[in-house]
Symmetry: C2
Subunit: 393 residues, 2 copies
Amino acid sequence: MNYFSSHFKLGILGGGQLGKMLLFDTRKFDIQTYVLDPSDEAPCKIACNKFFQGSLTDFDTVYNFGKQVDVLTFEIELVNLEALEKLESEGLKVFPSPKTLRLIQNKGIQKEFYAKNNIPTAPFEKFSNLENLQSAICNLQSAIQLPFVWKCTEFGYDGNGVKIIRTVEDIDTLPNVECIAEEMVPFKNELSVIVCRNPSGEIRTYPVVEMEFHPEANQVEYVICPARIDEKVAVKARAIALDVSEKFNHVGLLAVEMFQTQDDEILVNEVAPRPHNSGHHTIEASYTSQFENHLRAVLDLPLGNTDSKVAGIMVNLVGAEGFSGDVVYENIEKILGWNGVTPHIYGKKETRPFRKMGHVTIVNENMIEARKIAEDVKNTIRVISPPTPEGGV
Amino acid sequence: MNYFSSHFKLGILGGGQLGKMLLFDTRKFDIQTYVLDPSDEAPCKIACNKFFQGSLTDFDTVYNFGKQVDVLTFEIELVNLEALEKLESEGLKVFPSPKTLRLIQNKGIQKEFYAKNNIPTAPFEKFSNLENLQSAICNLQSAIQLPFVWKCTEFGYDGNGVKIIRTVEDIDTLPNVECIAEEMVPFKNELSVIVCRNPSGEIRTYPVVEMEFHPEANQVEYVICPARIDEKVAVKARAIALDVSEKFNHVGLLAVEMFQTQDDEILVNEVAPRPHNSGHHTIEASYTSQFENHLRAVLDLPLGNTDSKVAGIMVNLVGAEGFSGDVVYENIEKILGWNGVTPHIYGKKETRPFRKMGHVTIVNENMIEARKIAEDVKNTIRVISPPTPEGGV
């Protein structure tokens, strides 16, 4: 198959920032791309060869889009699975496969898959609705007891759909949906390993990264590569991530989020079958970025070197509280003057509190130095609105 | 000035591969770009915000294009200078400035500028036409004697417009144009230093690179960073490049091509006021690519770190002899399997013998290893046409 400057077409479901960064590599290789996204202002709209505006969850829209491409992939999991299954059954190459996506899309099924396949994960119980959860907890019929972590099984992302439940009263505040109750595991670190695998079975892992949380707010502040953990723990984490990828028979990127427990056990929290926030630093820090390796994988090309050239830290740029409307990146000129600092601006026209607007990568030969600069970046740049009527709230 | 996700527009004259690589960084920062290029199939056509098809040498076309943007730059020198001068006189920011471009566009004026400013360069004499050249050489009225290097003063690039003249008969084969005759200087190495300078006067140089030539064919085969030369020579080369940039009062990138003579003198050969083939490796090898630093410079943003993360080597991908038409990159899958190898495919639909179709960067911690892999790349990938009627010649 000739992909380069040819008539070959790669279809991408979703035109957000992940797709946008993937397009840097399709452009570098001059591979034609068709993109489907509901928003007329999707960051992918330019830089793809053909943009289609439409719903990612509508069967016909996704099916008809897929009929126009040679290989189909996605940058977001919330897509119409039935359409992907029909397209695959008709011979289209869909990577990651709908089979894998079905196991991942529903967190209940995903957790049961871990249990069935002896993949270490926190103890949990699944409930078909709120009432079952309530009676099981209140009547102590469940192995899970208060406090526990509640997760709705579908359509949750970025913390939404996840709650820590401490009292019976907390339970009453939950929506009546299928959910899982998960034992609260005290952990030292949240880690992530991105695995890359192609249809030929070639498989590579990126170095383990560490998510550093804000001491008060329960929010990831820094993604740090390599994680500042014991080498033995890193080896174990990469081995478990490989095992997860192989058991899913996954093709493309799989981001495996894990907990490092107090006694250095590794528990798989959840996975994402696509380029991931915990891999953005690979653009500047690695020999091959996660995006290029996703592209190589879904096209069954040889995978690129996942080693790091230098240490890398990522800081998310989210909309500051109290600002909505036109966006201004306050002090971005200042941080551009610092060593190894690269802002990525996703191209969303309007900011909203906590909206992901971009990220900043800090690379340095010296991790301590990188961490210092990252903190300065975090404390200097702000995503706000201009001081006009529509700015501010 | 707010450049990021704003209404600001950067205009780029020329939509070829240099512009295409520059657009990776305008996209990364979400800076709006307008591009003008004569070809409807220009590599920049997608990934810019607005594409204009038109002549770069026509006054009205360039002038009217310039009136629509906030800052104007170019990726090719052969643009209408009068239009740039009028736009600048009307207050548009044009970087590099037409003043600088005027000194560079004509090789005679460029050489005279070096002489006047005590910038070391090979001895030369300028002739307004062929007849003057002939009589001066034949009557030994010139300090320049056979053999010498002939260069037409305008519209020459990539070796075209440059000839080595060994005999009086050779002179008769030359076109009747303004030209310079330059003393043939025996040299050890051809070197290049890319300088980056912003309007505020911040200035940085990239490490010295070495162009390694094919033993027989007089053609650059590898651009090697860092150059394998004595540190004292490297320091001198960077100092001279800085001096050249400051004397031109240049803004943006300036690629300074130099000869290292047998006795380790540095002679400036010529300059290019734009991203340059000798800096393509910076995308993978440097903390800040030449393209990002060009963008930072013309927007008067702080310049990025020009140091290298790892050693980098670039191999040009030119169309193989005997093939014209649809392009195939033979064995590209093979080289993608090697460590630190990144092909850049410019997106030209048709190959022709010696046409620049792309380049391959090889990065490695170890220069000797990088050089080995680069040679394997050079001997493995071929730019050809598919075996069809229109393929081949």
